[in-house]
């Protein structure tokens, strides 16, 4: 007959209790990877890069000063690490942009898909660049690889600004769609009222026309902003300036959307007031 040991059974149950409950806490905290998490990932890697950049600068100064083999190896190692971290920063930043673009709906499918493909290709390029850094044996190899990275980044910058522009335009397109829908609804309603003949709709129709005009002007500004971004060239010394101009134009477009919406408020007020 087996010996009955209650203390062992109690210990087993407590272990089971801990096993099932503690991991549940981490399971419940598990979230899908979204734009915010991608952005936190980018910030983390950017911080790592800045730390490794400081270490690279110290190692470089030390090597230039002492010219010993030890200082050279240290400089080689720190430079390699800094460049790898730099590639990681670009990869995580592009990933965050990609996810942010997905969230900012309102872009035409083909435009968005084109940007996704370009972003994915760039991420692959920097991943390969990181792998090439592993096989760099000398400081000269690292200098050459860094130069390659720098040249590629000139193209990447264009893609970055075009994606940022697409994110802002995506937001504007959502607002545009909503205002346009409200205009259609009010147009139908005004048509019904005009047919019934129990209220003068001329003022409401004028406000509605003003709203439509503002909507058209908003779209024109958006298109202009898009053109500014497509005209950015690889060798432009100040790509940020072009992006800022595009951003300012999008803000002007947004102002028109606000005006269009305020005209719709006037239409409602007019319809609700007696003649």
């Amino acid at each position: 007959m087996k010996k009955f040991c209650p203390s062992k059974i109690i210990v087993v149950f407590f272990l089971l209790f801990s096993f099932f409950l503690l991991p549940q806490k981490s399971y419940s905290e598990e979230k899908t990877f979204d734009a915010n998490q991608a952005y936190q990932d980018f910030l983390y890697n950017y911080n790592l890069y800045r730390q490794s950049y400081s270490e690279y600068m110290i190692a470089k100064e030390s090597y230039l000063k002492y010219q010993t083999l030890t200082s050279k190896n240290e400089a080689l190692q720190k430079t390699s690490q800094m460049l790898k971290n730099q590639d990681e920063v670009v990869k995580t930043y592009l990933t965050a942009l990609r996810l942010k673009l997905m969230e900012a709906s309102g872009n035409a499918g083909y435009e968005q898909n084109t940007l996704y493909t370009k972003i994915d290709n760039e991420i692959t390029w920097y991943k390969n660049h990181q792998e090439n850094l592993n096989s760099a044996g000398t400081i000269e190899d690292l200098i050459a690889l860094a130069s390659k990275g720098g040249n590629e980044y000139k193209e990447t910058e264009i893609l970055i600004y075009q994606t940022l522009g697409a994110i802002l335009n995506g937001k504007e397109n959502v607002f545009y769609g909503k205002i346009n829908q409200n205009i259609k609804t009010l147009k139908e309603k005004i048509g019904e009222i005009r047919t019934k003949g129990d209220k003068n709709t001329s003022l409401s129709e004028r406000w509605l026309l003003e709203a439509e005009n503002r909507l058209t002007r908003s779209q024109e500004k958006q298109l202009f902003a898009q053109n500014l971004l497509t005209q950015i060239k690889t060798n432009d010394s100040n790509k940020l300036k072009s992006y800022n101009e595009a951003q300012f134009t999008i803000q002007e477009s947004h102002q028109y959307l606000k005006e269009a919406n305020s005209y719709l408020k006037e239409v409602i007020k007019e319809l609700k007031s007696a003649d």
Partner: protein, 134 residues
């Protein structure tokens, strides 16, 4: 014949050298204690399984209770003059008009709060110029 010493019964014939071991003593415990333990363990097991099921259920329904803080510019306060409709028309209470009015109001708020700079997405500052010359 047992002798009473300080009201404790001592059997003079008892063999004090060959006392039963703890295991033997425990083996002779009444069956009721064993049954109580089994009952306790069963109840505890059921409780544990119920708790596990509850945790799994809650984790599936859990929403993001700590949304990430967004950097939004403080909206400029504007004085809203509410113009009251003094003489309402036939359509003042029309359902379609009221619904559209609500949508326009909500959209107005969204337009005011829209972030059109996304400064947190500015590209990082990187240095691709590596040189080892004094």
């Amino acid at each position: 014949m047992p002798i009473e010493v300080n009201s404790v019964e001592i059997n003079p014939d008892q063999d004090f050298e060959n006392l039963p071991s703890v295991a033997e003593k425990f083996a002779n415990k009444p069956k009721i204690a064993k049954k109580s333990l089994i009952v306790f363990v069963s109840i505890f097991g059921i409780f544990l399984l119920s708790l596990l099921a509850l945790v799994i259920f809650l984790s599936f329904n859990q929403k993001n209770v700590n949304p990430p803080a967004e950097n939004k510019p403080t909206p400029t306060p504007t004085m809203e003059i509410k113009e009251e409709i003094t003489t309402p028309s036939l359509y003042a209470t029309d359902a379609a008009i009221l619904k559209t009015e609500e949508e326009i109001k909500n959209l107005d708020q969204e337009l005011q709060n829209a972030d059109l700079k996304e400064t947190n997405l500015n590209p990082p500052n990187l240095d691709w110029q590596i040189e080892f010359e004094k």
